[in-house]
């Protein structure tokens, strides 16, 4: 019997190339993996989203940039040159035959699975600033590195607050850091690295705050200084930038989307992905340094007014009260979060909107997780395609199978569903409910 024409069965997804190996992320780990695969005679595609669309930098994607990048980032060609200069391994990879695509983000990974049987094979969704496309692959190496952790300290949403990864990228990858005097938060190697890089670049260091303490980032419209408690007294320092170098976490968006098991492993940063047949995770994406944020998070989240989710304006107190978003003007259940039973971050997201905003939850994901894990470690919140916020017009440019368009239907295409259900289903010789004609299917 022929398959349901309005289903995904038999539809194709046109590919712009197939590769034995695709590597996502052209940092050290990614370049090494790409070179090794090319030297083994494989066809290799190496993609990296940098240089980013400045619009995405403004949304703190993928790192917390905090608006401290200068106008140079507007010039894509110049940024590409800087990236090639900052990562000399790229030239070697190209000469070894690796196809390198810069300014190209991986927004989706699609595998054939029990839930996606109609897919012919593994596909990666890619996009630049103009359009989206798909490539096929046999093996994928995820080398997407680490992501900045935001601790929702008072004032963190001010322009001028950035993460360690964001700072490093602004300074060394883009050469476009716009600050002059920084305060560094964090007591580990991450913070030490930020301070050293700043010194080497001749950037002033106003303060280094190593341990969680009562603290305030100050400024009217952007960072002007920082105030913190030390030995019972408040101290203050003027600065234009605060670098949160407290912690990073593995950037496991793509492994999660591909269906890799995700495990809680604080010794490697928090949630870490496991490999799967055909999916390898290397470098920081597979695990970072031991988790160092717990004390900072606990202190920040104890403050009910802490802005946890900036996109959707959800405060720590709103989360604990499970308060619906402000536009509804309603209270949460009396029991607050306890009204839900065992907590799940995705469920809390749908009810409070924390993590539902335009930054795709990158800035609040770890803080929300800490808050809902007060009693037991909550499961990992899911990642969904597109992994980068892509304009409708960019996604719309993906090449589409004409058969998919010809058989498009709003909902299942069963004729009897759209006729009065208080009347018997009309007899249909072939299919019980009858099929809408292609002409009628558009409903």
């Amino acid at each position: 019997m022929s398959s349901d024409p309005t289903s995904l069965a038999g539809k194709e997804f046109p590919l712009r190339g197939r590769f034995a190996t695709v590597v996502v992320g052209a940092g050290e780990a990614g370049i090494t993996a790409a070179l090794a695969a090319a030297e083994a005679g494989q066809s290799v595609l190496l993609v990296d989203e940098h240089p980013l669309d400045p619009g995405l930098m403004g949304m703190d994607i993928p790192w917390l940039f905090g608006g401290r990048l200068d106008a140079a980032v507007q010039n894509q060609a110049r940024m590409e040159e800087r990236i090639v200069a900052a990562r000399p391994g790229l030239e070697a990879a190209m000469s070894a035959g690796v196809e390198v695509a810069l300014g190209t983000s991986a927004w989706g990974g699609f595998l054939r699975s029990a839930s996606s049987r109609a897919l012919a094979g593994p596909m990666l969704g890619l996009a630049d600033r103009r359009s989206a496309w798909l490539v096929g692959f046999e093996r994928i190496v995820v080398a997407t590195g680490a992501r900045d952790v935001v601790v929702p300290l008072p004032g963190w949403t001010l322009p001028g607050v950035m993460g360690a990864r964001g700072f490093d990228a602004a300074l060394r990858l883009y050469g476009a850091f716009a600050g002059q005097r920084i305060a560094v938060l964090g007591g580990g190697v991450l913070a030490a690295g930020v301070a050293a890089a700043a010194r080497a670049a001749g950037i002033g260091i106003a303060a280094e705050i190593c341990a969680a303490a009562p603290l305030r980032i100050e400024g009217a419209v952007e960072v002007e200084g920082i105030a913190w408690q030390e030995g019972g007294a408040w101290r203050q320092a003027a600065c234009d930038t605060v670098v949160m170098a407290i912690d990073t976490v593995p950037n496991l968006e793509l492994p999660d989307l591909l269906g890799c098991p995700i495990r809680w492993d604080p010794a490697r940063g928090g949630f870490v992905p496991e490999a799967m047949p055909g999916v390898q995770v290397v470098g920081d994406a597979a695990g970072t340094a031991p988790m160092a944020r717990a004390g900072w998070m606990a202190a920040a989240l104890a403050e009910p007014h802490a802005v946890v989710c900036a996109c959707e304006e959800v405060l720590a107190g709103d989360l604990r009260a499970l308060r619906p978003p402000r536009y509804l003007g309603a209270e949460g259940p009396e029991a607050g979060l306890a009204a839900l039973g065992p907590l799940n971050q995705d469920q809390v997201k749908r009810l409070t909107r924390a993590g539902m905003g335009a930054c795709q939850g990158r800035r609040c994901r770890d803080a929300v997780h800490a808050l809902v894990s007060a009693e037991r470690v909550a499961p990992h919140a899911s990642h969904r395609a597109p992994l980068r916020p892509l304009p409708l017009s960019v996604l719309a440019a993906l090449e589409e199978d004409p058969a998919l368009r010809a058989n498009w239907t709003g909902w299942f295409g069963i004729a009897a569903q759209w006729l009065p259900h208080w009347e018997p289903v009309p007899e249909h010789p072939e299919f019980i409910g009858g099929r809408l004609t292609a002409e009628d299917a558009g409903k």
Binding site: F110, S113, S116, P386, L392, T409, G410, W411, F431, G433
Partner: protein, 375 residues
């Protein structure tokens, strides 16, 4: 004790209406409330082909107050047509409602653009439905649940129903992963799992699972009426301003025992974006920030099965066949009546009995082309 199997909107609404009348209820959900189709759908509340339509329309405006928590329900739908064919089909389905006394108005392009500035020159016109509406699925599911608890009902999450214990032509207990629960009546509202649960006590309730996808953009300025769709898409602007739209190809699946299949996304999300950009060229710059999938329950004719069985005679089977969110205030009330008084007094459910599938061939899914592809 009335035990309700499944904590989706169908089961939760049933529990809401039963507990409201003082009946003791326990809802048993294998995972999280509203976690499956009930919390992942398009939020549409406009089903003129259902005998429950009138009740759906009557109840939604009262639900926030009755439930005590906001559902984000808003009235009306606006339909956009990009060609004569689309407009024609829209009028066909409009007549289903206007024949029942509901009002609708034709919109020309200028009127459409006044209601929605993103509509482009490709739109030839539209229809304003002065009926129907839309609500927030997860918030609604949760609101039912909290109302049930407030009314004295009990809700068990992370508890799987494995079967029924029958004696003397009745269900006397519901068997779960956490032990037996004695019962006077049972409602089977387990969505796509309804079929395999019914099979365990010898009943054939044909339901096939399918996966469908939705995508959502960042928030845009609020329209006066967010329930606007067309061009082969269903969906809405949320009260926060996001554009959330679904449609297009679904995929037939198999269940994984008691587990619900992973509701993954595919590159179909790009096709959704394409159709949304065609319908709203003025919003083509809006960034898509997320997508999701859901697993849908489907009967062979695309219509619900709402039926009180005769043997065992204290079991009601309730599956909505892919249009169960919007109808849930009404379906729950109808199911509660089937449980408490054996019949529904406000709608004609005579065509929604399981017996209509009495002669269904065993290989019906294959015949319909609804089988899951081999893995």
């Amino acid at each position: 004790m009335i035990v309700i199997v499944g904590g989706g909107v169908t089961g939760l609404s049933t529990a809401f209406w039963l507990s409201r009348q003082g009946h003791p209820v326990t809802v048993v959900e294998k995972g999280i409330l509203g976690w499956e189709a009930s919390g992942r759908n398009g939020g549409g509340c406009t089903h003129p082909y259902s005998p429950l339509f009138r009740e759906e329309q009557r109840l939604w405006p009262m639900m926030d107050e009755m439930l005590g928590h906001p559902t984000e329900w808003r009235p009306f739908r606006i339909k956009v047509a990009l060609d004569e064919g689309q407009l024609d089909r829209l009028w066909k389905s409009t007549r289903l409602a206007t024949d029942q006394g509901f009002a609708a108005e034709a919109l020309d392009r200028a009127q459409l653009r006044e209601l929605c500035p993103w509509v482009g020159p490709a739109a030839i016109g539209g229809i304003f439905w002065r009926y129907g509406g839309h609500a927030n699925p997860q918030r609604t599911s949760q609101a039912y649940a909290w109302a049930v608890e407030r009314q004295g009902g009990r809700i068990l999450q992370h508890t799987t129903v494995t079967g029924l214990r029958l004696a003397g032509g009745r269900a006397v207990a519901v068997e779960t992963s956490a032990g037996e629960i004695g019962c006077d009546a049972v409602v089977l509202a387990a969505g796509p799992h309804t079929a395999q649960l019914a099979e365990r006590f010898g009943h054939r309730i044909p339901v096939a699972p399918a996966r469908a996808e939705i995508m959502v953009t960042e928030p845009l300025p609020l329209l006066a009426h967010g329930g606007i769709d067309g061009n082969g898409l269903y969906g809405r602007q949320t009260l926060r301003g996001n554009l959330a739209y679904g449609g297009g190809p679904h995929e037939w699946l198999d269940l994984d025992g008691d587990a619900t299949p992973r509701a993954v996304n595919t590159p179909v999300v790009a096709s959704l974006a394409r159709r949304l950009a065609e319908m709203f060229p003025g919003a083509a710059h809006a960034r898509v920030i997320r997508s999701w999938g859901g697993i849908i329950e489907n009967t062979p004719d695309g219509r619900p099965i709402l039926d009180r069985l005769t043997d065992p005679d204290n079991v009601v089977v309730a599956t909505m066949s892919s249009v169960g969110f919007g109808l849930s205030p009404a379906s729950g009330r109808a199911i509660a009546q089937l449980v408490a008084q054996g019949a529904c007094d406000f709608a004609d459910l005579s065509q929604l009995k399981a017996a209509r599938f009495g002669n269904l061939p065993l290989d019906w899914r294959a015949r319909q082309g609804w089988e899951a592809l081999p893995l």
